[in-house]
């Protein structure tokens, strides 16, 4: 209601003025952003720091910081996110390299292979993994039938299941930025290295890899940041050792109705993500992580 009233009030004078000053056209967008992003953010901060008795207090912050259970949950979240990022690099870099260097037709196929699962819901993909990885799932049945293993191995409800599910969901965020950098890379540079006598491996390590590092850093930062906020996949595919901070925030907000504490947990998580973003920005430049290309 307020949103409509505000934009209505602004729209009338702006409508006459924008012809003279086209810059005014962004006013609407700014107001939209303020209402949709800034407003909730401020209210979140309000929830986290407000105190009915003393006005403002750090009570909630001390509750988060002083509790080793929450510290452990943050650690678990970071451990899962870091592993996911590493696995995504190991799989994603060669894949992106192949995409950038193969024929247009093969490249298109490789892009499709990454993008099509990307358009499927995370929940559906997590559930599909439950069917594939289960004790009586397809993978275990095949492995047993082929004589590779004697009895089903635990691929689900533990760290393995979480990693498989998360890497599957997040791989495109690693592949695409690396591919973007590699495909724009001047192909004559590694060729020059080769002509000067460098082995293919040396040309890659000393020319291609350093030049693609911004893409790698962008991908790693994106994957890590997204992994930190992951909720559905660890909850469905994980075990008790994979309890992430997102699950605890949900419990506080939805079940215990302790919104101030939930808000503070979210803010602490946000601060940690911001720290990671800052680190990534130093290596790759904030514009590329944010998806804005720099030329």
């Amino acid at each position: 209601m307020t949103a409509l009233a505000v934009s209505g009030a602004i729209a009338a004078p702006a409508g006459r003025a924008w012809r003279a000053r086209p810059g005014l056209m962004v006013v609407g967008a700014l107001i939209f952003c303020a209402i949709v992003y800034l407003g909730p953010m401020l209210s979140l901060i309000g929830w986290a720091f407000r105190d009915p008795q003393t006005g403002w207090s750090l009570t909630q912050l001390w509750r988060v910081v002083g509790d080793d259970a929450y510290q452990l949950a943050f650690l678990t979240t970071f451990r899962i996110s870091a592993t996911t990022t590493l696995v995504c690099i190991v799989i994603g870099y060669p894949y992106a390299y192949l995409m950038a260097t193969s024929s247009p037709r093969l490249a298109a196929l490789l892009v499709a292979a990454v993008m099509i699962p990307f358009w499927t819901s995370v929940l559906a993909r997590s559930l599909a993994w439950m069917i594939l990885l289960g004790r009586k799932g397809i993978i275990n049945e095949w492995l047993v039938a082929a004589g590779v293993i004697e009895r089903p191995v635990a691929l689900l409800f533990n760290g393995i299941g979480v990693q498989i599910g998360m890497v599957h969901v997040l791989l495109p965020f690693m592949v695409l930025p690396i591919w973007a950098v590699l495909s724009r890379l001047d192909a004559s540079l590694p060729r020059a290295a080769r002509s000067l006598g460098a082995s293919p491996a040396r040309a890659f390590l000393h020319v291609t890899l350093p030049l693609s590092l911004p893409g790698l850093a962008a991908g790693a930062t994106l994957v890590f940041m997204l992994a930190i906020g992951f909720y559905i996949t660890p909850a469905l595919l994980g075990g008790p050792n994979d309890l992430t901070i997102a699950s605890l925030i949900e419990m506080e907000v939805r079940d215990l109705l302790d919104w101030p504490f939930g808000a503070m947990l979210s803010l602490v998580l946000l601060a940690l993500v911001a720290a990671v973003f800052a680190l990534g920005a130093i290596f790759a430049g904030a514009r590329r992580i944010a998806g804005v290309e720099e030329r």
């Binding site: 509790d67 452990l72 909850a235 008790p240 309890l243 419990m251 079940d255």
Partner: protein
Amino acid sequence: MTHRSGLSRRSVLLAGAGASLTVASPFVQLRSARAQNREIVVASWGGSRTTAMREVMFAPFEKATGIRVRDDGPPEAAKVKAMVESGNVTWDILDTDIPAILAMVNAKLLDPIDYAKIDQAKLAKIPSVLHHPYGLGHLIYSFNIVYNTKTFPNGTQPRTWADVWDGVRFKGARSFPFRGGLSPQLEFAAIADGVSIDKVYPLDIERSWTSMDKLRPLVTKWYANHAEAIQLLSTGEIDICCTIGPRGLVAKKEGAPIDVEFAGGKLAPENWAIVKGSRNSEAIHQFLNFVIDGKVQAELAKRIPYGPSSQDAFAHLSEAEAKQLNTSPENLAKQFWTDIEWWGKVTENGKTHNENQIERYARWMVKRG
């Protein structure tokens, strides 16, 4: 068609205004209908449950009283909180469980039920444990031992909680609930440790947690929602599950290799509760009197296998139907009621047992293992 070009700007505007009025008018009517006690909004859980309720409760009620019943949902406490705090309450009645009600009472989101307006003859048929000041129990769910019949054929299933805790005599993957506003299943931990079902409360919290420690290595999956639990059971991923018995019976009806052991089960009500600031008190209590009727509840129980709260319902059900319901006199005797008062009791730290134990559950989960 030829007149199209001749349409004046004014007539188009008028037509547009007319159209928008037509679009808006049902909404305007709804609002005023609700204000005049001619309509109530019931927030329930959707799916087959709401469909069945529409058929045996809402539609007959509309016909009998002329008061429209709209359904909405799901009645999550966080949604109610947002409604009440923004002053934009659009629900009148909730269909929800005790943990949610306790949380909402604590946050002052509910109005009490006016028991003076409830039909005393019908009320007398409902066990008094279900007459909560803020919730009238109408449909009973229960946590039971639900098991895969391929793993445990022909009566070889675990029959007591001690059996479930016994990983040597009863091999198989266990699954227990974690989250979803659920308190930990401390009662079963106590019973598995030797407490009899009529002496569960007041819970010996520490004894129960010690027993939970023993269960922990046997549990393959701490499931997040009940549908997931049934799915895991029917695919054989899990052999023994502590979950909602009636949900197991729904799956059994659909052909899944699942059955339910009622012995030792924990009964808990889904309740009718009234949202704070609702102005339809008369219509709401009229509705409550209609839907707590034994015959109406029996009809619902024929469609969804949750126990009716009114013992009068069993006068309208066959013996075979009653056997599958957790509140039939025979099954009732094998189980115990969740002690709402104990869970809702405010402890020294200003929080209820329920809130404390949910938090402790999360802490236990994170820190062990």
